[in-house]
């Protein structure tokens, strides 16, 4: 077991990472979905106390991945900022510091539903912001899991999780990658996000993430 698992998809090799991201060696690209920066800050702005530390945690994990996997580009598959109230000085300052540390990296954001309300990140962050899909190699990179006529879709948005059921009536719920014929999903990266159980009848190949590993699930 290791903290990543290479798979082949649409003729390209992708690495599914245990920290809920995809590394694409051929393009030296890191794909991240649903990071939801500033979600806690938005809650606080609206009068609901949430401790801080979630932004730091997200950035720390992002830095760790960028240090471990040689990346030329970083692509956010939507929901970069959580809400308009997320554009607060403290959060944006942290993001700017981080961007300065990773200055040589090309960063792209494919707008998601939250980004449309929250607004684009400030230009100072030097993030290329585009609407979906981003066609790259055999893939259509999107936020919403809508099918694409010619390309294999890689999307986020759903925050998928899977419930394992075992003997002795045990069960365990873990975030997962869902790999399909024409459409694949990433788990949500953000540390202050929940998850949604995916339908068991759908014909996904499921790769669970948990305890620093990626676990392929052999299912019918």
């Amino acid at each position: 077991m290791s903290d990543y698992l290479p798979i082949e998809l649409a003729g390209s090799e992708l690495w599914l990472l245990a920290d809920k991201a995809i590394y694409w060696p051929e393009q030296r690209a890191l794909l991240i979905a649903d990071i939801h920066f500033g979600k806690a800050a938005a809650y606080r702005r609206l009068g609901q106390p949430v401790p801080h530390g979630t932004t730091e945690n997200n950035l720390r994990r992002l830095d760790a991945l960028l240090a471990r996997y040689a990346c030329r580009q970083l692509i956010f598959l939507g929901d970069f900022l959580h809400a308009p109230e997320s554009q607060v000085p403290a959060t944006l300052a942290r993001l700017a510091e981080w961007r300065a540390r990773q200055a040589q990296l090309a960063v792209t954001l494919i707008r998601g539903n939250h980004d449309r309300r929250a607004g684009d990140p400030p230009a100072a962050l030097a993030i290329t912001v585009i609407d979906e899909p981003l066609l790259q190699g055999p893939f259509a990179l999107q936020h919403e899991p809508a099918p694409h006529p010619t390309h294999h879709v890689i999307a986020g948005h759903l925050h998928p999780a899977f419930r394992l059921q075992g003997r002795g009536r045990q069960s365990l719920r873990l975030p997962c990658f869902c790999i399909g014929e024409r459409l694949s999903l990433l788990p949500a990266f953000g540390s202050f996000t929940g998850a949604m159980d995916i339908a068991t009848e759908d014909r996904w190949r499921i790769y669970l993430v948990g305890d620093g590993n990626v676990w392929p699930l052999a299912r019918g």
Binding site: D34, A40, A41, A42, Y43, R44, R45, L46, G47, Q48, P49, V50, P51, H52, G53, T54, H82, A83, V88, A90, N113, H114, R117, P145, H157, L158, H159, A161, L164, Q165, G166, R167, G168, R169, Q170, S171, L172, R173, L174, P175, A188, F192, T193, G194, A195, M196, D197, I198, A199, T200, E201, D202, L208, G210, D211, G212, N213, W215, A218, R219
Partner: protein
């Protein structure tokens, strides 16, 4: 000593009773005398015995002629009447109005509840009525008015109706805090509580009047009570498990047929829906003559049913605790209780709903839903005969209620911390509030807790230049007013008929999680009707009438009530008697063959022995243990035992509990013969071990849901809130995780833990149960198949888990099992020949992916989940 009332007017009460040719009861005269002397107190009497007129006429005696009043300018606000249910308010108003009219007193009566319309609210904001009937929540809301002190300046007396309903919960604490404020404004305030039967009346008196004292008046009016059981013909065909009891339908129909009006009490709302439908299916001719009543039905529907009951127009009403309280329905002749009565006080309360007409006795008939409830019925009879009545205790300093109160008081003209602290400490539940907790609560409402001090963007309450703490934001003020209260429910959807060009009639509300599992076109049973889901929009489920048979029944997430200690002890005595071969009652004789099976396959529990059974099945290694401590205690015990055993070997347990016992199930081998005795008799610190087991499990996370809502962490939304408001709704499970990771010292987390200990696990009762178990002889049996006692646990679907295995090991094992599964190898509770079990038909559940306009994925399920909920 006559106080403000002169001798000539002191006889108002006596005069009115005489005019109606009524003879006052001694307890009524005692209350009149006490109020005349300005005393406070608690009146304990059964429903329908004249409690209302004891306090109301006492008040009129003292105040009616002491205040200036005329027809066009009635007396100023003098009396507050607190009722736990807004449904009771209108009936109370009628009862209070009656003597006013007949005595020609210029007093006005007003209502102020969540149902009060805006015109009436506006009128009240100009001038409050002489007597105002309200709920604890609405009272707190009134106290948030900036001119509250002025508005309540004339208040002289406060009455709390059904105090026993409030005493033990956070609504009662909210009322204590409101009372503390009113007493500070008027130290001479007279306070009376009205209470039904409780095992600890002095405590109820102390909490209500703290820090003062008062008089306990006992109403001596006891009505004769008949308690019996509707028995199945033969026990062999009666199920071993299940909770519907529909096999008893024919005899129940016969009983209803024979009486003029019957109340059929059930323990859950879904059970009431099923029984109502089953009765109608069996007796189509009863359409229009029988009705359904539970808390999720629309107000108009409930009103209609209550009116029908009052006028004797209904033959039967299937209901839940929604009809436990309230005015008396004179025509009710019989009360049936479907399933376990759970407690003696509750049974007496329900029994009291019948037989109000003169010369009648109260009669309640128990209807068992599975075999062992027959024994429970025998136990209930004995406990009632011996008057073993449960106690209720007020919560100790719940911080979530305090936090909410601080914001409320900041709205009500602002507060100065020192003054407010002194005031709060006069409330019984906060009498020992430590300074540290107070400082924390202040910091929490100001900055959101210690960890948030660096954030200028969050503030609910701020001190102004003079040191007065206020809420600066109008938006937050509005939002706080909307969420005052301590009753927590799941997000619910209104159910309305679908009509072109707008909504049709409203039927009531169901939990979002239930609707989320349905697709448009699916049928479900609600409000006694078969409905088809049309669409879901803006928190409303639109439905049409449907025909056909297959329908889902909503489940509401109400907490399941545990069997009380009093009833559980009586039950063990019945088992003990059976073990000694004594089969005296009708119930016991009927149950004898089943108890014989239990005896032959294993053994019978008794007062002196603790029965344990171990079973190896293809599911794994089971332990069944029967401490008879009630489901909450069993959950605590099961976690404790699981944790202690898990300290010795890495293992994962699935836990099931019911009122009789608990089951621990492991997929890997556990040598129960070796492991059980040391885990039971361990001298290790009990509290430490229970806390540790709590952290290993999921209970505290679930408890946090209620705390988060009351403390204002989770906002349940404005009525009719648009989608954008949803962007700030996260599940409390997610909050719990974020707090635990980033702000582990937050006191609300401590409170979650404390409340789990006290309420969910009932630590006091757990300690007593464990002490008793250690005195008992452990009677351990290896069983070859599940016994009558084990079977209900085996088929229990709701389970907890506790693990000491490494996460990676658990995943590896479960992934491997999935790989090996040649077919559908999962657990199947295949009933053996001798076992009958009543089950609800399982419906296939189809979670959905689409999110716009159509129902969402089950929220309930996500909420209860470790990884937190999410709405993409």
């Amino acid at each position: 000593m006559t106080g403000p009332a002169s001798t000539e007017t002191a006889e108002l009460a006596e005069r009115w009773f005489a005019s109606r040719a009524w003879q006052p009861f001694p307890f009524q005269q005692q209350v009149w005398a006490a109020v005349r002397h300005g005393e406070s107190g608690l009146l304990h009497a059964t429903t329908g015995s004249g409690k209302t007129y004891a306090v109301w006429l006492g008040a009129l005696n003292r105040f009616a002629h002491a205040l200036p009043a005329s027809a066009d300018r009635p007396a100023p606000l003098t009396l507050l009447w607190i009722t736990p249910m807004r449904a009771l308010a209108a009936d109370t108003a009628r009862a209070l109005q009656l003597p006013l009219d007949e005595l020609g007193l210029h007093w006005s009566i007003g209502l102020r509840t969540g149902d009060t319309g805006s015109a009436e609210r506006a009128r009240q904001s100009r001038r409050l009525p002489s007597a105002l009937i309200t709920t604890p929540e609405s009272l707190t809301l009134l106290l948030t008015r900036a001119d509250a002190r002025q508005a309540f300046a004339g208040l002289r007396m406060l009455v709390v109706d059904e105090w026993h309903e409030l005493l033990g919960n956070k609504r009662g604490v909210q009322l204590q805090l409101a009372l503390a404020r009113l007493r500070r404004w008027n130290p001479g305030l007279i306070v009376w509580g009205l209470s039904a039967t409780l095992g600890n009346q002095p405590h109820a008196l102390e909490v209500l009047l703290h820090p003062g004292s008062g008089r306990l008046v006992e109403g001596q009016v006891s009505k004769p009570l008949l308690l019996d059981t509707l028995l199945p013909e033969a026990i062999e065909r009666f199920p071993w498990a299940g909770h519907l009891g529909l096999r008893m339908l024919p005899p129940v129909i016969a009983e209803i047929d024979a009486a003029s009006t019957t109340l059929v009490f059930t323990n859950t709302r879904s059970q009431s829906e099923r029984w109502y439908q089953a009765l109608l299916d069996a007796r189509p001719d009863w359409a229009g003559l029988i009705a359904l009543h539970h808390g999720s039905l629309a107000r108009e529907v409930r009103d209609w049913v209550e009116q029908g009951l009052k006028h004797g127009a209904l033959k039967a009403v299937v209901c839940t605790s929604s009809l436990d309280l309230g005015v008396d329905f004179l025509p009710v002749e019989r009360v049936l209780q479907i399933g376990s009565p759970k407690g003696v006080a509750r049974l007496l309360q329900r029994a009291g709903r019948s037989g109000h007409a003169p010369g009648r006795t109260s009669r309640v008939t128990l209807v068992p839903t599975h075999s062992l409830e027959v024994l429970e019925a025998a136990a209930a009879q004995r406990a009632v005969a011996e008057r073993r009545i449960e106690v209720r205790c007020a919560p100790q300093r719940p911080l979530d209620v305090l936090v909410q109160h601080l914001v409320s008081m900041a709205l009500g003209g602002g507060f100065r911390p020192d003054e407010l602290l002194a005031e709060v400490r006069t409330a019984w539940s906060y009498r020992d509030l430590p300074d540290g907790h107070w400082q924390w609560a202040l910091a929490f409402v100001r900055h959101g807790g210690h960890s948030l001090t660096a954030y200028p963007d969050y503030q609910r309450v701020e001190p102004d230049a003079t040191g007065l703490w206020k809420v600066p934001s109008r938006r937050l003020a509005l939002r706080h007013r909307m969420s005052i209260g301590t009753i927590v429910s799941d997000a619910s959807l209104t159910v309305k008929f679908w009509a072109r060009g707008g909504a049709g009639r409203s039927l009531g509300s169901v939990e979002e999680g239930f609707i989320a599992r349905l697709r448009p076109g699916d049928n479900f049973l609600f409000a006694g009707r078969l409905l088809e889901l049309v669409r879901v929009e803006n928190m409303t489920a639109y439905v049409n009438r449907a025909s056909g048979r297959k329908a889902a029944v909503p489940r509401w997430n109400g907490g399941r009530m545990p069997l009380s200690s009093e009833l559980a002890d009586a039950l063990v005595e019945q088992f003990g008697a059976a073990a000694r071969g004594e089969f005296v009652s009708r119930e016991m004789r009927l149950l004898q063959p089943l108890l014989q099976v239990q005896q032959d396959w294993s053994a019978l529990p008794s007062e002196s022995s603790l029965l344990a059974e171990v079973l190896k099945s293809r599911e794994g290694w089971h332990l069944f243990l029967y401490p008879f401590g009630g489901r909450h205690v069993h959950l605590g015990l099961a976690s404790l035992l699981a944790w202690r055993i898990a300290q010795r070997q890495p293992v994962t347990f699935s836990i099931a509990v019911n009122d009789y016992g608990l089951e621990l199930l492991s997929a890997t081998e556990v040598d129960w013969l070796q492991a059980l005795a040391p885990a039971l008799s361990s001298r290790d610190d009990l509290l430490h071990d229970v806390l540790a087991s709590l952290n290993a499990g999921e209970l505290a996370r679930r408890r946090f849901r209620e705390i988060a809502r009351i403390a204002g962490l989770v906002f349940s939304g404005y009525p009719g809130a648009q989608k954008s408001a949803r962007q700030v709704q996260a599940s409390s499970a997610l909050f719990f995780d974020v707090f635990r990771q980033y702000d582990p010292d937050n006191l609300l987390l401590d409170q979650a833990q404390e409340e789990v200990l006290r309420q969910e696990l009932d630590i006091g009762r757990l300690e007593r149960t464990l002490a008793r178990m250690q005195r008992q002889r452990l009677d351990l049996h290896r069983i070859r198949r599940p016994t009558p006692l084990a079977f209900p646990l085996l088929v229990e679907r709701f389970r907890e888990s506790l693990s000491s295995e490494k996460l990676a090991d658990r995943i590896r094992r479960m992934v491997a099992e999935l790989d090996n599964a040649a077919g559908p190898g999962g657990y199947q509770a295949a009933p053996q020949n001798a076992i009958a079990v009543e089950r609800e038909p399982e419906r296939p559940r189809k979670p959905r992916q689409r999110k716009t306009g159509t129902p969402r994925k089950a929220k309930k399920q996500i909420d209860a989940d470790p990884s937190g909920g999410h709405r993409p």
